[in-house]
């Protein structure tokens, strides 16, 4: 590994498929140990970007490297450092779970890998299905097997392309526990997902793609602040002070909605209520979530 190299580095990456510009000059650096989210609507270029990193697609222009290894020129080191969970639920119906994992290990030149194979099967609850033919696995089990296959060679960089699409709550939870553990142990994780609450809960940093361009890239915390709007729902014992009525929206349940960008404004409102002899009987803060930020950024981009 190149010391000091980014886990994933992408500079000016472009790719065109016939009539669509899938990627249009994307630049991005993901540092070792990050849990990074890549968000964007369908067709934004997320899968194209991942495919280029994995060597499944070749870029028209630009540079892409895994742990400092350029993905075409140093493809052996780059692919050894990368584990990809593809979006499509693919499997090879000729083999059972254990054979699949042994063969996959073999492709990476790993001969005695049964200890690690047993461990990943255990963590992904695949052990009871070890001898089952892959075509007899349920959709959730096939997904787990794909995750296991991506991890056979203990890659320092793990890419998950919508791993929880169509997956039940239990698997989602156990999957994220396992991936978070790997992340804590130092693996870099790049995740694409349509479940924004997942990205919000897991990712330290997030990039948003639209039409092949990065339209936002920041820490999850900053992105959430980016909404810059806080909101409180209040219930008052009496009518609000006259000076504030313009800033308050009446809610159907008889309460009031107050939008503000700085908490001092909320303090001022409360002080005004108190000095007018009023009383706050109920108050609830509503924080922006990633979905609001996402919708907002996509609209403006």
């Amino acid at each position: 590994m190149n010391p000091g190299a980014a886990a994933i580095s992408v500079q000016g990456l472009s790719k065109r498929f016939r009539t669509t510009q899938a990627l249009d000059g994307v630049s991005l650096d993901i540092q070792p140990g990050e849990f990074f989210g890549l968000l964007g609507p369908n067709g934004a270029g997320k899968t194209t970007l991942i495919s280029i990193l994995a060597g499944l697609t070749r870029a028209d222009a630009g540079y892409a490297a895994i742990m400092g290894h350029e993905v075409v020129r140093d493809y052996r080191q780059a692919r050894r450092a990368l584990g990809v969970v593809p979006q499509e639920l693919v499997y090879d119906p000729f083999f059972n779970v254990r054979e699949t994992l042994r063969i996959q290990s073999g492709y990476f030149g790993l001969r005695h890998n049964d200890g690690w194979i047993d461990e990943i099967m255990h963590h992904l609850d695949l052990t009871p299905h070890a001898d089952k033919n892959t075509q007899n696995l349920s959709g959730g089990m096939k997904r787990r097997l794909l995750v296991a296959q991506a991890l056979v060679h203990k890659p320092p960089v793990i890419v998950l392309d919508e791993p929880t699409a169509g997956v039940d709550v239990d698997l989602r939870r156990s999957l994220w526990e396992f991936i978070s553990r790997l992340n804590r142990e130092g693996h870099t994780v790049l995740l694409t997902t349509h479940y924004l609450e997942e990205a919000q809960a897991l990712c330290g940093r997030i990039a948003m793609l639209k039409a092949g361009r990065i339209v936002a890239c920041d820490t999850t915390r900053n992105l959430l602040h980016h909404a810059n709007e806080h909101c409180a729902a209040l219930r008052l014992a009496s009518a609000p002070p006259a000076a504030w009525t313009e800033r308050l929206q009446a809610l159907p349940d008889g309460g009031w909605r107050f939008n503000f960008s700085d908490f001092s404004e909320l303090e001022a409102l409360l002080a005004a209520v108190r000095s007018a002899g009023g009383q706050v009987t109920e108050m609830q803060l509503i924080e922006a979530d990633l979905e609001d930020v996402f919708t907002d950024i996509m609209k403006r981009a």
Partner: protein, 251 residues
């Protein structure tokens, strides 16, 4: 094991798991050809003096079975992997295009040889000729299966649907094998078709392979081997170029 051995192992295990379809079925087919053609033609045709029609037919059938199965091993494995999408399992690891090609090639050769051996064994009861020239037998078997395995790799990479592969098989492989003198000597053909046959590499495979059994052939086995080896090198080079460029595999 290195990546190449793992891929080879996977390819061998793949056809072995469905051996009824990949080994037994072609052996039965060859046996049916032998029963029918030798029954109908045994009394009427003597291609070479002192050689019965059955003795003439058996080497051709063995070679034809080897060719068809070597081709179908690499081509069907690749098209299945492409259509089901599990081709990514071999595209994501650090396998070189040379390792990729060699694994599919050797698996195709092994399948061809296993089927050929099977056909030879079941024809033993029919007065199958002995093998006075095992060296020629080995050389022609390996190169012919290799050529078809490499061609199958090309076809498997090129085809995007099953019917494209079927077209390749029905309009190229099948005519080339049937029009190669499996069932007759090309010397029985009109001059024009004899000339055409000399442009068919499969003709040289059958003819040279037959020489190993009968010590007689339409052209000198050395020349035949040269043609087959040349074709093998050419098709392999083309197939390697396709893999190196990522044609239809890495977009």
């Amino acid at each position: 094991m290195n990546g190449f051995l793992a891929l080879l192992y996977k390819e061998l295990l793949r056809f072995w798991k469905v051996a009824v379809q990949t080994v037994v079925a072609p052996v039965v087919t060859a046996l049916l050809y032998l029963l029918i053609f030798s029954h109908v033609l045994e009394a009427h045709i003597e291609v070479y003096p002192g050689v019965s029609y059955t003795q003439f037919l058996v080497p051709g059938l063995v070679m034809m079975s080897m060719l068809q199965n070597a081709f179908s091993n690499s081509s069907s494995s690749l098209i299945q992997s492409k259509l089901t999408g599990n081709i990514v399992f071999v595209l994501l690891p650090p396998l070189s295009y040379l390792q990729f090609f060699s694994a599919y090639l050797i698996a195709a050769i092994v399948r061809g040889l296993v089927v050929g051996l099977g056909v030879w064994v079941v024809t033993l009861g029919f007065g199958t000729p002995s093998v006075p020239h095992p060296g020629w037998l080995l050389a022609f078997s390996l190169l012919a299966c290799g050529l078809m395995g490499a061609l199958g790799t090309m076809a498997g990479i090129w085809a995007e649907k099953y019917d494209q592969l079927a077209a390749f098989q029905n309009f190229l492989i099948l005519p080339l094998t049937f029009l190669s003198g499996v069932f007759y000597s090309i010397h029985s053909l009109p001059a024009f078709w004899q000339t055409v046959s000399h442009w068919n590499p499969v003709f040289y495979m059958i003819d040279g392979f037959r020489y190993a059994f009968l010590g007689q052939s339409d052209v000198a086995p050395g020349f035949g081997l040269l043609v087959v080896a040349g074709s093998f090198v050419a098709i392999s080079a083309l197939s390697l170029l396709m893999l190196k460029s990522g044609y239809k595999l890495r977009h």
